[in-house]
Amino acid sequence: MSTPLVIGTRVTREYHLGGELVHALRGIDFEVAEGEFVALLGRSGSGKSTLLNLLGGLDRPTRGSIQVAGRELASMNAAELSLYRRTTIGFIFQSFNLVTSQRAWENVALPLVFQGVGRAERKRRALELLEQVGLGKRADHRPTQLSGGEQQRVAIARSLINKPRMLLCDEPTGNLDSNTSAQIMGLLRDAHTKGASLVMVTHDPALAASHAQRTLRMADGAFVDELPVPAVAGGGA
């Protein structure tokens, strides 16, 4: 395994829900290597999405440390976390999370808006990525005019626009049929092949087994076990 891109040490996340303390993550340790494809497997409430949010800097751990590319996320202020999300991370969600009023290319280019990139440059880069995900001709369509698979492809294009070092995928094929899922996973593998680390949350062991280099199974806020690397998986790292 190469140098760890992510090092998590005793990462704990607790929050109050309806007066009760919920232990979402119970002091877990983990590592993700540069260019590694890791699957987080587990049932609902096992803590895998919480871990993904912590990795993406959308949430902060209650205790413990998460270092990404040598930087401690817990010590970053809000503006630094924004910059981290914009430059280091790409998110892909189960429900696509596109802005419905914006065209496909505008959704892809959204991270560049907050980076201060001019419109022409934004459009050029967005169209390039849309071509790559096979939606070159749908650039001016709005999300409601696209199928689920197409929407997820737009979301993948968006996550790649800043050439992130790590893609965080939360059930990326959860809302898609098997054919479309295969296409989406193909795109994710392409990104992985090009050097991005991938952390993918899924509850589908088969999906994890067929694509990830390493699968960590979670339950009740902790890692239960690490499944062996299947022969068919891997490739990037």
């Binding site: 949010n53 993406g56 959308l58 949430d59 809000a78 503006a79 924004s82 910059l83 999300r85 914009r86 430059t87 998110f91 969600f93 999370n97 596109l98 802005v99 009023s101 914006q102 959204l110 991270p111 808006v113 907050f114 980076q115 201060g116 990139v117 419109r119 968006r158 800043n162």
Partner: protein
Amino acid sequence: MIFGLALDGLLRKKGRNLLTMSGVLIGVFALTLIVALGQGLSHAVTDTVASSDNLRQIGLTGGMGIELSNDPADVRIEGEMDDDRRERLLRAAINRRQIRQWSGRRVNEIDDAAIEKLSKLPHVESITPVIIERYQLQLDTQGKKYETPASLSIGVDVGRKRYEERLIAGRYFSGPQADEVILHEYLLYKWGLLTSNDYESVLGRKVKLSSIISEQTDPMQNAPEQMRAMMADMSDEEKKAMGVLLPRLMQQFGQFSGERQSVEREFTLVGVIREQIPGDVFNVIEDGNAVQTDVFLPQETARQLFLGSVVNRELGYPRALVLVDDAENAPAVEQALRDQGYTAFSVASVLEQVETMLTVITVIIAFLTGIALIVSTLGIVNTMITSVLERTREIGIFKAVGATNFQVMAVFLVESALIGFVGGLVGLGLAALATIPGDLIAKSIIADRAAVPYAGGVFVIPLWLALTGPALGTVTAVIAAILPARRASSIDPVKALRHD
């Protein structure tokens, strides 16, 4: 960039945002219109009076003579006499001074001596008596005789071109002492003279001006009925006092002349002058005295005619026009004249008072109208809170792709600013449109009721006001959006992304 996202948010809920915008629009519309009216009125006053020599002129009338006192030490009785007689004459002198005005109080008169004295005050360029008098008028032509029982005449400074510019027939005065007269077109119209041929038939003819003389010999016969009834109950002493007072009083108010000496002179009719029209220079003090004048005489000619009357010689000129070297010195000269015991008012000081009053009224009304704008901010707050709530998930997406809290806040602030700016701009535009019929209505009112011709607009939107409308709308809207925008920026992205 952020602007595009804000515009996108705005266009997504067109109806709601248009309604919100209409609040700002109405506020800015009303505010602009009110302030434009205040500005316009202020300009109207200034344009009308600040032109020409208005601000250098001071109107002077006889005063209460505050410098004269009843102190016998101030009154000198010359000659050798015993103390009793000196005491009596002293009292008589004081009494005669006191009896100048109907109220029984003293008055400082404007006669040639006073004019000479006051002309020496610093910054006074000239003092010209205003010669206004009523005369009986007769114009004889071959076979036809025109006359009026009482026409108002005024003496005109021949050197000033403004009267000459109003000539519509004939020529101007040949000199300041010429025995010439110019008549107003209205008087000729009343005589049935309208065409240039009509004018030609009378130009060059002799016009006779004569004093208006009462045919009554008993001065009291001309007194009003009620006054005579009142006098019946008076003691002999009171009647005697009234006998002295009343004719003078009535003389002053033009009801009666106890004077039997007649002033009568002939002049050559040399020109016809037209009524003042919008665009003519209007001198508040000069023209304010002369709006009903039908007969124009050269100043010196008018003065000699005026002083032909004993009463006029006794009472002095009713008014005088003081010209100051510079408008800036008008208030100081005005005060100096008052200190000398005269009543004086300068256009500059009146203008200042009018402008202060207009400003106060405008500010008060603008403040009341501003309440509409304050109410509209509540509408914006409501709209923005709703917008933030509806777009919670979108805010989560923005944050997930790297928007900072400030950028999220900026999206909503810019969105609100757009509502305010466009609302303010449209409000300003509508206000500008509304001034067109507003001006027409105001002009028709002015034409109907005002003696002073005025050609300008009553609503004036200066550049600063034009800029204030959209700026005020924008600032108001941004202030209204601060809390909702802060709320948007502080939304937890994890929760936001789960929001439906």
